[in-house]
């Protein structure tokens, strides 16, 4: 039986900039930040209240996985906003929206009532979109 998800990948344009965004704007914590075998940087962040879920912030670079052309294509798709980072939960969408907006986070949709709760949508500093959701049954 699979019990939970431990790691998921978000492709970013620059790991230092992404770390600054996820740590200093979204308030996440660093899980791992280490050099593995040569220059590969293994960088993960997680919400403070959920260290069990690590978001791997990875740069698409030419290497074993990607050719130069593929890496460039992925970078261009990230910039176009073709990828989503996922859904982050909050216990107060309006308040979190105001706090993040004040920190300079770019929102593409303000808090809006949906069937499942109140949801805002934003972009990280690479161009990945994410939702901020306050579930209706969390209060």
């Amino acid at each position: 039986m699979i019990t939970s998800i431990a790691h998921t990948t978000i492709y970013v344009l620059n790991q230092d900039d992404a770390l600054d965004f996820y740590k200093n704007k979204l308030g996440f914590e660093v899980g791992d930040d280490m050099k593995v075998e040569g220059d590969f940087r293994w960088l993960t962040v997680h919400p403070k209240s959920n260290p069990q879920l690590q978001l791997v912030l990875a740069e698409p670079k030419e290497g074993p996985m990607f050719s130069k052309e593929s890496a460039e294509k992925i970078r261009s798709l990230i910039e176009e906003g073709a990828f989503g980072a996922g859904v982050f939960e909050t216990d107060d969408c309006q308040k979190t929206y105001q706090e993040l907006e004040a920190k300079g986070v770019e929102f593409i949709q303000p808090p809006t009532e949906q069937l499942y709760g109140i949801e805002a949508m934003a972009l990280d500093n690479s161009g990945n979109w994410f939702s901020l959701v306050e579930r209706v049954n969390t209060k």
Partner: protein
Amino acid sequence: MATNHKFKRLNASRDFIADNYHAPLSLSDIAKRSYMSNYHFLRVFKDTYGETPNEFLIRLRVEQAKNMLITENFTVSEVCEKVGYTSLGSFSSLFLRQVGMAPTLYRRKLWALSSEAFRFPAQAIPACYAYHFLRKLTK
């Protein structure tokens, strides 16, 4: 779940621990950052983050120690001191409990696996990522 206001106060304490993990920390010093009594703070912290402040502190110290053991040439005693422990015996027992092996053995094992000095081996990250980014099949 803590309210947004309470969560902010708790985060102040958690950030205080993260910024000062290498120093001697008392519960009252930490709880003070959240404007709570020691008992109340302990309870709310555990409810919110799923671990006690002390468990969080130990986790940070052990993670930092693991990093130093691999990427730096410090002795185990120096690592022990740098992550905030004064007794080498206590540090070694704690490390053994948390990681499953003594600090020296951990260092020896990972250095032996690594193809490059002062770098984590591919085995230190989940195998699917090691394969994805490094084309290494780990055993």
